[in-house]
Symmetry: C2
């Protein structure tokens, strides 16, 4: 069956980087068929809904989507919730895979090569908040099922990476019940694993200590598995070492459905100026090639092309210069469609 991609540019620079990533994908895998769909803050403003039902249908139908970015209203708007959160919840995208790796000549440090595997459906992201008078309460939900599920994703990734170490990040000293459950569930899956990474070195770190290490010793991480919000924080911190949010990709993965998403936001300050870096969106497409369409060969070609483009120096206008270099490298290398 031919691969299909649901294209959701979203807001701000999402409208600029997504077309570039699609152009790259057309170059390496021409047989992909496309559907376009809407989501985000502009969609909410014009249609009253941030993720229309047709969008959910389109993503399900395609099995893969590329989402650009969503603006944030900056205030509480009744009925509005960030589109990407709705997509994750509604489509059961339970894993968020966020790699960070040094690119020689571009990143501020060499030797970093890690991936944060973030649980993507629960924790404080369940959207259960109440307020009574001057006191507000949010629920943080951790289940054994979701914790085991994310552990399996982390170990599958460890298997393919040939990973040397799995770091379980939690805060069980303060949250013995919820994070104790998370930690124990992960440990259980690790103990029973019989893939190539069976017997992998396993370490546990409190999230605060992990944050310190992410600043001072990012090369000490390989595969990191953690809960939703800690994964959000640690993967953004890690992004610095690959070169910032402009080059940070991610993949939201469920069963039979996935959404690739550059980690950056809609960046209203630079939207329309051509200053947005399309690398994160292109690398997100590479994650679809690897994890969804089972074309690790093409994923590697795209990733290498982006690495070379960045290493060669990024000149304004960034959007078109990175695009042109990447396309040029891919077209000149052999077998564009192979």
């Amino acid at each position: 069956m031919e691969p299909r991609l649901c294209v959701i540019p979203g807001d701000g620079i999402g409208q600029e980087v997504v077309p570039v990533a699609v152009q790259v994908l057309r170059t390496v895998l021409p047989e992909v068929r496309y559907e376009r769909a809407e989501a985000g803050w502009e969609c909410f403003r014009s249609r009253g809904v941030a993720v229309p039902p047709e969008t959910l249908d389109a993503v399900r139908r395609c099995g893969a989507a590329l989402f650009g970015a969503t603006a944030s209203p900056g205030r509480v708007v009744p009925g509005y919730r960030s589109a990407i959160l709705t997509l994750r919840q509604q489509l059961g995208l339970y894993a968020n895979i966020r790699p960070a790796a040094s690119t020689a000549g571009f990143s501020p440090r060499t030797g970093v090569d890690l991936v944060v595997v973030r649980e993507n459906t629960e924790d404080l992201y369940v959207g259960r908040e109440t307020r009574s008078g001057d006191v507000a309460v949010a629920e943080r939900v951790i289940s054994a099922t979701a914790s085991r599920r994310i552990a399996r994703v982390a170990l599958r990734i460890a298997d393919t990476r040939g990973a040397k170490k799995l770091t379980i990040v939690h805060k069980a000293n303060v949250l013995p019940v919820t994070d104790g459950l998370f930690r124990d569930s992960v440990r259980e899956v690790v103990a029973g694993w019989d893939g190539p990474s069976a017997g992998i070195e396993v370490e546990e770190t409190y999230v605060d200590v992990a944050a310190l290490r992410m600043v001072g010793a990012p090369e000490s991480f390989d595969v990191v598995v953690t809960t939703n919000l800690f994964g959000d924080i640690l993967s953004d911190a890690a992004a610095h070492w690959s070169g910032g949010l402009g080059v940070a990709p991610s993949l939201n993965l469920g069963d039979g459905v996935a959404i690739a998403e550059p980690v950056h936001g809609s960046a209203p300050d630079i939207a329309g100026t051509g200053a947005a870096n399309p690398a994160a969106a292109i690398l997100s497409v590479a994650m679809l090639l690897e994890h969804v369409w089972e074309r690790p060969d093409l994923a590697r070609r795209v990733t290498h092309a982006v690495g070379s483009a960045l290493a060669g120096g990024v000149h304004p206008p960034v959007l078109s210069s990175v695009r042109d270099t990447v396309l040029h490298l891919l077209e000149s290398s052999d077998g564009g469609t192979s």
Copy 2:
């Protein structure tokens, strides 16, 4: 009234660094009277309680304490909760002040000079967790009262620092109710402030973006005000820039009572080897001098002595070499008791 200090060495290297910090304090402020008290994991093991009632009484009586470190059992032990958490809750130590500043010749980067002002009583630290079957839930509590209170502490610190910028860190895009309340409460206090920092530049950042900035642009922060767990994570990340946990002090502050505490843990791996850096404990005492005993002059002298000791190079055995240099510098500078 003469200043009093309740000395609580706690576990592991707490037993080593606390006596050094006390020695330093004796040098600059001989009139301090001391009481000794117990708390921590060893205390729990021998007496069945991590923070005995006499310890709480002693801290209240003294109004100031120095707490070393507490070990963590590494598993859920019925009835045990980290001693420092109990002290914070029981004594209403609602603010946790965590500075991070570069020391020329020692820190990995120059130009960093920030303070994280962390709410210290609520958020996920309220200890309300339940489990039913395979699903665990923790409550995250945010109140307007505590949020306004921590905002006032942050602004008072901004006042004395001559701060240029206040950064409010939250995650209101995912937690509009709890973190919306936090953000709005802080904004309200800022708007009504008439101290020297009235009109200070105020910025807001999501915690994930703040973590990224803490890695890549720590000098872009001045005073940071945030909720409990985000403060825990960000202050540990910030500690890298001052030179790591070995030099990271903190002050837990309430009304009429305060506990100074090096951020590091009990470090069982180096306990007894003399490798522990006493700088964090000494700098924590300097925070008592500044914020509790109103001796900013002495606080500065101690801080400078530590800075010089670190800049001169830290040689093993770290504990005694830093101690000896700091004591030597303080004794040779004029007017030990000024």
